[in-house]
Amino acid sequence: MPHHTKGPETTGRTLVLFTRSATDTAPQTLQRTAGISATMSPELGTTPMSIQQMSTDGVVYQELGVAVVDAEPDQIDALQAATRGPEPVLAVEAERVVYAISTQEQEFRTPAPDAPTGAPWQDTDHATWGLHAVRALGSSATGAGIDVAILDTGLDERHPDFATRHPELRSFVPGEEPRDANGHGTHCAGTACGGRTVLEGPRYGVAPDANIHCGKVLSDAGSGGDQGILGGIDWAMAQGCDVISMSLGAGLDWNTPHSQIYETVARRALDRGTLIIAAAGNESERPDGLAPVGHPANCPSIMAVAAIDSAEKVARFSCTSDPASGQIDIAGPGVGVHSSWPIPDRYKAISGTSMATPHVAGVAALMAEARGARGLDLWAALMQHARRMELSSLDVGVGLVQAP
C-alpha cells in the first residue's frame, strides 16, 4: 500500500508486520533492512512510554508481530522493498489516527440511499433467486472435495439431476428404504448440493460438486425421533462429513432450555470438524405472532437458520431468537424455493426455514473448500462473510449467508 494515499489521518509513524515465527528477531530485521533500531515491548516495563521518550526508533510488540517505528522516507522504501524479498516482513503501513466514535459521528454512517441491495430477487432462466441472493454463481468454489450430509426424508436417487452424483444413502427409519417418497429430503438435498446442469428449469443447487450423503431420519410420512436423528449425526460424523444440514425440528415454548444431549454432540462434532446447521422453525405468524427458535436449532453449537423472502424481508413464519434460551445465527432464502422433487414431479417450489437451511449448508461447503476452514473456523467464516441486513438480529442473526 502506498503511504501517501488520501484516506484516514496518519501519525507519521509506520507499522511493520512480521511473520509469526520471526517476531523474536524483528529488531535485528529492522536494523538490517532499514537501519532502524527498535526495542522489544516487554523491556519497556508497564508504564506507557512514547517513542520520543525512548532512545530507539521504535517498539516491537512481540505478541502481535508488529513494530511501530519512526522511519524516514528512504527507510520506509527499504521496508517496502523487504516485503517483496526473502525477509520476514509481511506489510508496511502508515499508522492511522483513530478517535473514539461519538454519537454525532455515528449519525453520518447511515448507508447511502442508492446503495444497491439486489432485492427483490427473481428466479431467472439460469438460476433460482436463492442462488442469486447468496452469490453462489459468482463463487469460484463448487464444494469439490467437501462432504455434506442432509438428514431428512432421504433422497429419490432416480431423479435425473442426481444421475451422476453417486450419493451415499442410509436409512435410520425402521422398515423404510433410504429412497425419499415424501419429497422434503430430495428438495433440501437439491438446494444444498444440486448439480450445475439440470434437466429443466433453473439451476437450484448451491454446491454442485460436493459429495452428497443423505441420511433418512424422517419417515416418508415426515416424522422421526431423536434415536434416528442422533444415529444420522453419528453416521455423518463417522463418514467425515464437513457439514450436516438438518431441516427438521420441534417447536418450543419460550424459555425452554436447549437439549444438553444435542449441545454436547454438536460441540463434539465441531471439535472433529463437522458443522451442524439446523432450521429455526416455522411457528411464527408475523407481524404479530412470534415463536422462538425450536429444538435442536436452539443449541448454541448448532447454527440456527431463519428464512427471508426474495424482497429480503423476514419470512412471516420464521422463528425468532429467544433471548433466554436460543438464538438465530444467520438467514437464508426460504420463500418460493424451487428445487428437486421425487419423480415423476421432478421439481417443486416450496417455503420454510427447511429451505433456507440447505442454502446455508451449501454455502458452508463452498466456504470450506475456498478457505480450508472446518468446525468453529468454518462457523466464524460464515459469520464474517454474511451480508448484514436492515432487519433485527433477533430475526436474522448476522444477516444473509454469502458465498466466498
Binding site: 442422533l230 437439549s259 463434539r268 420454510g352 429451505m355
Partner: protein
C-alpha cells in the same frame, strides 16, 4: 400426557465417545434396553422405565439423560 412411571419410554444418553461401549453395558445393567451405541457422537439410545431416568443418570460415565423427542414435518402446503 405423562407416561406411567413403570412403562418404557425412549431415552437418549450422552457418554464419552471413547467409553461408549463400556457405558452402554453399565446402562444395560442398570435396566436400560440399549438400542444403539453411537461411538462417534458418544450417544447411547434405547428405552427405560419413565421413573428410572434418575437411576441412569447415576451410572458411571453418563453425562446426561433425556427422554427422546419426536419431530414431524408440517403438512404439505404449510411452511416446511
Amino acid at each position: 400426557m405423562a407416561p406411567d412411571e413403570g412403562s418404557n419410554i425412549e431415552v437418549v444418553v450422552t457418554v464419552a465417545p471413547e467409553d461408549a461401549a463400556a457405558v452402554a453395558g453399565r446402562l444395560q445393567d442398570a435396566g436400560m434396553e440399549v438400542a444403539q451405541t453411537l461411538s462417534s457422537a458418544g450417544v447411547v439410545t434405547g428405552a427405560a422405565p419413565a421413573g428410572e431416568l434418575a437411576v441412569l443418570r447415576e451410572v458411571d460415565g453418563v453425562l446426561a439423560v433425556e427422554p427422546a423427542r419426536d419431530v414431524e414435518l408440517p403438512p404439505p402446503g404449510a411452511p416446511q
